[in-house]
Each structure stands twice: as C-alpha cells, then as structure tokens.
Symmetry: C2
Subunit: 437 residues, 2 copies
C-alpha cells in the first residue's frame, strides 16, 4: 500500500551518455534519424549546455538537426558533490507532452523520451537565441512578450479547474507531485536561502549589508512566507516553474519556451512573476553595461513596455480562452450555475476578479524572484557581466530596494502603472541600506 | 509514461464477500482471529451497514469483536445502477494509516487491509453509538466536541506545510489524488446539485420555492463557487472529507472518527465546517421532534455550546501543536526565518492569523454543508425523522435561511459569537422565501 511508486524511472540501467552514445541512441530512432538525414557517420554533435543543470547537445545531419538533453544524477554546473535526481527529465518530458496540445508552436516539439536513460530528444530551435543573452546585448524582439503571455494563459487555463474536470487535474497533480528534488531547489533557493546565511548564497561582498538587512527584516520574511505557502498549497494550474529569460528562445518572429523540468502545480502568478522579474533585472542591469546613453534609454523603455505587453497579452488571452470554452468541463465555475443573464453577467465579473488576483500574485512573486537572483545561488548573467563588483552591487541594490518595497507595501502596487512607474525611482539606491528608502 | 498507475487496486480478482467469506477471510488472519478468540464456528456476524455506501459487518467471538468493511462496486443504498469505484476502501485504509500516529485513540485501530478485496478490518467500537442518532434522541456527550476539535487539529497540522516537509506532503497528495470517484460525489452533491435541477436531489415538495430561490440566486452561487474553488485548489492539509455526526462514534468518555473514504487534501475549515453544520442541523431539527419544551431548550443550549467548544478546542490544540513542534520540518514558516525575538513575536501573530483564516473557511463550509443536506442527495436523519413533511420543510427553511445569510453576508459572521447568536434568529422563517429575510 506504498504511496511512492516511482513511475518516473524506467526499468533498466541508467548511465550517463557520451556523445558517441547519443549518436547511437538517435541512430536507433528512425523518426529522429530521418530528421537528420544521411548516415550517423555524417552527423555532428556539440555540447550546448549553457544551463546550470543538465547535459544538452545539438546534433546536426545533412537534412536537419535535433536537440538532445539528459538528466544527470547531479547538478552539472556544480558537479557530483551536489546530487540531483536524474528523473527531472521525466518531468520535463511530461510537461512538454501535457502542454503540447494547448501551446502548440510556442514550445519545441518533443520527439522522444527514454525513461531509463532520462533522455529527451526535441526539435532543434534554429536560428533561435536564448532571450537572456540577447537582452543583455540590448536586442529587442517584437513578439516575445505577447507570446509568453499567451503561452502562460493557455498552459494555465487548460490545466486549471477552469479548463479541465478535476479528475484530469488530479491525475496531473499526482504525476507532478513526484517532482520533489527540483521543487526542493525552488523552495530553498527562491524562498529560503536569500533570508538566511547558507553556503550556496553567492552575492558579492559589497552587498553584505543589504543581505544582512534582508535577513533581519521580519516584515519582509512574513510577506515572503505568505507566497511561499501559496506556492506550496495553491494548486491553481500547472506551472513551468522556472520561466525566466534563459528558458525562452527567440527569433524576430518566433518564441519558444524550453526547460520545463521545474514544473509543478502552483499559483499562475508564479510563472508570470518569474518572467517579469527577469525583465526588471535586465532593466536594472542595463545601468552597468557600457553602452550609448540613448540606446540604453530606448532599450529600457522597450523593457518596461514589454512588461505591460506581457500582462495585457496574458490577461486578454486568458479571458478569451475562458469565454471561448464554456463547456470545457472545469469544476471551478460550473456552466449550469451561471447560465441565466444574471449568471452570465456575474461570470464576467468573476473573470475580472480571477485575473486581478493573479496580478497580485505576479507582483509579489516577481519581487521574490528578483531577490533570489541577487542573494541566492544561480545568479544571472544580466548582473554577472558587470565585472566591477562595486558597480554590480550598486545596480543590484536598486533592484533589491524595489523588490522590498513591492513586498512590504503591496497596496502601492495594485495598479500596473504604479508598478512600472516605481522601477526607475529606485535607481541610485545607496549601498548602505540604512540610507535607502 | 502514463500518469495513472492504479496503485489503489491489488493484483487479483475482486469479489463481493458474503458473510461466510468474511468469516473465512478473518479466520486466515491470525492477529485478527486472536482478537475474536475461539474457533470460527463460534463466531457470529451481523450486518450493521446503516451508512449509505459500503458493506459493514460486526464479527463477534468469545473474546472480542472486530468491524469489517468492504468497498462495493456500487453505492450500497442506491444499488448497482449507481456504480462507484470499490477502491474507496484503499483510501479509507490509507487515511487511517496516515493519521494513526497523530490521532491515536481518536479513531478505531486499523487491523487489516486487503487491496484485492478492498476489505478493511478494524477495531470494533463498543459500547459506542453513532453520534447522529444519539443527538436526535437528545443525548449529550461531554467530550465529543473537544475530542473532534483536537482530532482535526492533529490530523491537519501533521499533514500540512506546518507539520511535514513538502516532500512528505507531496507523497500524500499524490496518493490521495487518486480518490477521484468519491471526490466527484463531494463536488457534485455538496457544491453543484443544490443549485441546479438534477434527478438526485431529494428535498420535499414543500421546499420547492426555496430550492428555486437558491437556483436563481447568483450572489449565493458566487459565494459557493469561491469555496468550491478553494476545496479543489487549496491543498492545505489532509481532510476526512465527510466529518459529519454520522462519522463519529461516542461513549460518555470516548470519541472516535470513522469512515475516512472521502479523504482528500483541502482547506482545514472544510472538516470543521462539516461537523459544525451537523450540530446546527440538529439544532434546527429539534423543533420538529415531539419533546418536552424544557428538555429541548436545554439540548439546544448544549448544542450551541458544543460548537464553541469544538472551535476553541481546535484552535487551542492547533496552536499548541504548532508551538510544540518548532522543528517539525514544515516548509511553510521555516524556523530559521523567525528565530530572533521579532521573528518569534511575529510567528505568534502568524499563528493567530492562520487560525482566523480557518475560521472564515469553517463558517462558509458549514453553511454550504447545511444547504447540501437539505436540497441534495443523501439527506440526514435529523430532518428525515420529522414525518410531517410540511413541518420538516419549515424546519429546513430555517436552516436554509441561516446558511444563505452566512454565505451572502460573511462580514456579519466574522465573530463566532455573532454566528451562534444568529442561529436562533432564523427560526420561524416562512416557507415562502420571498417573505423571508
Ligand atoms: N530545443 C533546443 N534547440 C536549440 N538549442 C537548445 C534547445 N534546448 C536547449 N537549447 C540550448 O541548450 C541550453 C541549455 O538548455 P536548458 O534546457 O536551458 O538546460 P538546463 O536544464 O541545464 O538549464 C539552452 O540555453 C540553449 O542554448
Ligand atoms: N469500528 C466500528 N465499530 C463498530 N461499529 C462500526 C464501526 N465502524 C462502523 N460501524 C457501524 O457501521 C456503520 C456504517 O459504517 P460507515 O463507516 O459509516 O459506512 P459507510 O461508509 O457506508 O457510510 C456505522 O454507522 C456504525 O454503526
């Protein structure tokens, strides 16, 4: 009567695949080999693992390419001294499969998953680049913010009590409840570590006073605790769980969400907040990059615009899907309860309130994610590229001061205009937190 | 990579057990047979299934007795035309096993579970009686309200993000997410059916105008929808899921919770609200019983007192357990975040707020459960014993009017005194809802 059936693990012997092994694995998959074309001896393979966690390769053949990813039994970037359940690839593949019917071409296509080797083969994205790096270079992409807004709308609606009967949702919850090793990382790195002293924390020494101030701020830790509990208990919809600008690949015309290994059920605002946090981080980071002043100013205006575009795209798409699917069978608001004119009118109000609540969550989770990327483990290139650590710390202090204000005084940020307005006001925050607002 | 591993079902052939089969099953279990004593030929077995759903028997031997329960592939009371997954016995047994270490003697001891036959053997409770019947007779029990308050406190704390690391909670969630057939009954009978026309609804014709008024009350259905969504999405703790007065067996000194087959993760206020609803139902029902007026008045005062006793016992015990377990490892409020004097003081406020939020849920769920027992399927003896259906309808209209006020005007019921005060004020509600407050 044991609860813990590890269906994430296939029966057989796991082993870490070499490049030659990967070629052999793919050669044995007719569908995938067909995409590459030619013979295995004509294929090339290269390591593209710029992520922190897994082995990732691009394999090219005469006709085309694919991307292969393997979950390792440890954190790749850190090494074998940080063990990590390799079955994370199962959750990433499950996330892609679950969402493919609803997000379509907003994610790469899953071509193959092997549960013994924890080995994923997916569509190669080309000529896509990872959004984070492009933003650091000051590049802009006209469609990405609205694409991500629509992605989150579709993914969350169709996995929530609005979009599916609870039986389907409970099956999904049972599956993703197994993704514990990765969720432990989220819980620790996002919600715990920034507010305590722990070996993994990676902030620059110039930020020590800010880190100490955060560790001693009961008000702030209380605000974080509210969201931490919501993250663990509010099973609103299936989340990506790590939707930052490093999990998005783009071209001018196309945007794709990758890397769903942190997927979990939680509050919809968490994914939105993660993406917003990374736009805000890039906004603050810009001050530390050597760049023409007018260019910088233009890029920053573009960034703030994108936050608004993301939210508006999410909001419009979420409500559109809801309205377009009155018979989705979700148990949240049964159609029969709101079928008369008063009911239909009320449902419109309910929808507005539903997205307004998501907005409140977005704002708070964005702030928490900003803090986490500055004080905790796995920092972001947007700040790391600023080599002068004093300058980096100054820029980070701005972002920290903003995030703190958002968490401690949420009433000021109920309106999106106020949220965007406030971002520039925290530039020039002193490195001594006692002197900051 | 299928999510749906039915670990609730053993491998083998399920069959409905006859009384002789049950004797044979038990004879093959040395531990259980030892409790009965003597030889199987000396044992007696009798059907005690006064519940709606399962086969339940008491088996007595020379030395003692046990209770045996089997999940049938249909709803016993309704017959084979209402199929129902027999694996509900697995969830009932899992619920008992999960909680035994924390609720101890507040539940009968699980002696055996067979996943092929969906067959449970548990401690026989004797001379216990089912609380509902005893309340209808006007009997009182000094300990039951505080015992149930303490039961819910222990069960919910130790399965929440306060009492266990989320990994443990996610394992529990994965397990109980499988309990879909029973949860479908909860969702439909409690949250949907009372507000629509459906074959299962069972109210007396004299209540038709009230039922119609409820079906047409958008405000009311909106208030219900908020709790319905919380019931499905807020995975606060492991719930019994059907904790009414028919799920409690008592003596003067002892109280036991039985019948956890509806167990699911949800808001703690749901279990509290279920029990409170049934005390309120009994309070209103008393007006329909032939009884000495002074006796009735005394019993009613006792009932209102018990609601307060239940809440105070829950509240005190929940906070006591929380304070006594600073290192439980729950991820909700990490000890390291609240370790200094300000943090410890804040934690006291957080605890108060936590139980205050549970109270708000309690009140709303109690109202929803009252409505459900009057308008939907599976009505309760407290009302059914009133044979004059006109009188029954009058008494039920009182309860409906009270429940409606609670749901539509929650601000009036934030304080427990106001909640108790209001109960008698709704006596004498007219059978024409248009004339009611
Ligand atoms: N489908 C793909 N097509 C092309 N490149 C990809 C694809 N998926 C990932 N990559 C590249 O591999 C890198 C690491 O992948 P990612 O999924 O982020 O790994 P990790 O889980 O280790 O963070 C990405 O930053 C990107 O450069
Ligand atoms: N452990 C027990 N000891 C004695 N009698 C019991 C025990 N458990 C159940 N019963 C009796 O059997 C009846 C039905 O059990 P219950 O668990 O409520 O079944 P159902 O799931 O069908 O509602 C109870 O009302 C009670 O009278």
């Amino acid at each position: 009567m044991s609860a813990v059936v590890n269906f994430a693990k296939g029966e057989g012997a796991y082993r870490v695949l070499s490049q030659a092994d990967i070629i052999a694995e793919i050669a044995a998959l007719p569908g995938v080999a067909g995409i590459l074309g030619g013979k295995p001896s004509e294929w090339s393979i290269r390591d593209v693992a710029d992520g922190y966690i897994n082995a990732v390769f691009i394999i090219d053949g005469p006709d085309g390419g694919v991307c292969a990813k393997q979950g390792l039994p440890y954190v790749r970037y850190h090494g074998e001294s940080w063990p990590l359940d390799e079955t994370r690839a199962f959750y990433e593949a499950s996330y892609m499969r679950r969402l493919e019917p609803v997000v379509g071409r907003l994610a790469p296509k899953l071509l193959h998953f092997d549960p013994v080797l924890q080995f994923i083969v997916m569509e190669k994205l080309s000529p896509h680049v990872v959004l984070r790096g492009a933003l650091i270079e000051g590049r802009t992409f006209p469609k990405v913010a609205s694409d991500i807004g629509r992605y989150i709308a579709a993914a969350s609606f169709h996995t929530s009590d609005l979009g599916v009967p609870f039986e389907r949702k409970f099956d999904d919850i049972a599956l993703f409840s197994g993704n514990k090793s990765l969720l432990r990382i989220s819980v620790d790195l996002i919600f715990t570590d920034p507010y305590v002293e722990v070996w993994r924390n990676r902030f620059v020494p110039e930020l020590s006073a800010w880190a100490k101030a955060f560790r001693e701020d009961t008000e702030l830790k209380t605000a974080v605790a509210i969201r931490r509990n919501a993250f663990l208990s509010n099973r609103q919809a299936l989340l990506h769980g790590d939707l930052h600008s490093g999990s998005v690949m783009v071209t001018e015309e196309d945007s794709r969400v990758i890397d769903g290994e942190f997927s979990t059920f939680g509050p919809i605002g968490f994914d939105l907040g993660a993406f917003v946090a990374n736009l805000v981080i890039n906004w603050y980071g810009q001050a530390g990059y050597a760049r023409d002043e007018a260019e910088r100013a233009a890029h920053r205006i573009w960034l703030l615009d994108q936050i608004a575009v993301l939210w508006n795209a999410f909001r419009a798409e979420f409500i559109r899907i809801w309205e377009a699917n009155p018979d989705a069978g979700g148990d949240g608001y049964p159609a029969a309860h709101f079928a008369d004119p008063a009911g239909r009118a009320r449902l419109a109000t309910i929808r507005e309130q539903y997205v307004a609540d998501i907005f409140e969550d977005l704002v708070a989770f964005a702030a928490i994610k900003i803090i986490r990327r500055i004080l905790s483990y796995a920092q972001v290139a947007d700040f790391l590229v600023i080599e002068d650590t004093q300058r980096r710390a100054e820029v980070q202090a701005n972002a920290l001061a903003f995030a703190r204000a958002v968490l401690k005084d949420p009433a000021r940020f109920r309106d999106f205009g106020a949220f965007l307005d406030a971002i520039p006001r925290f530039e020039g925050t002193p490195l001594d937190p006692a002197l900051a607002r």
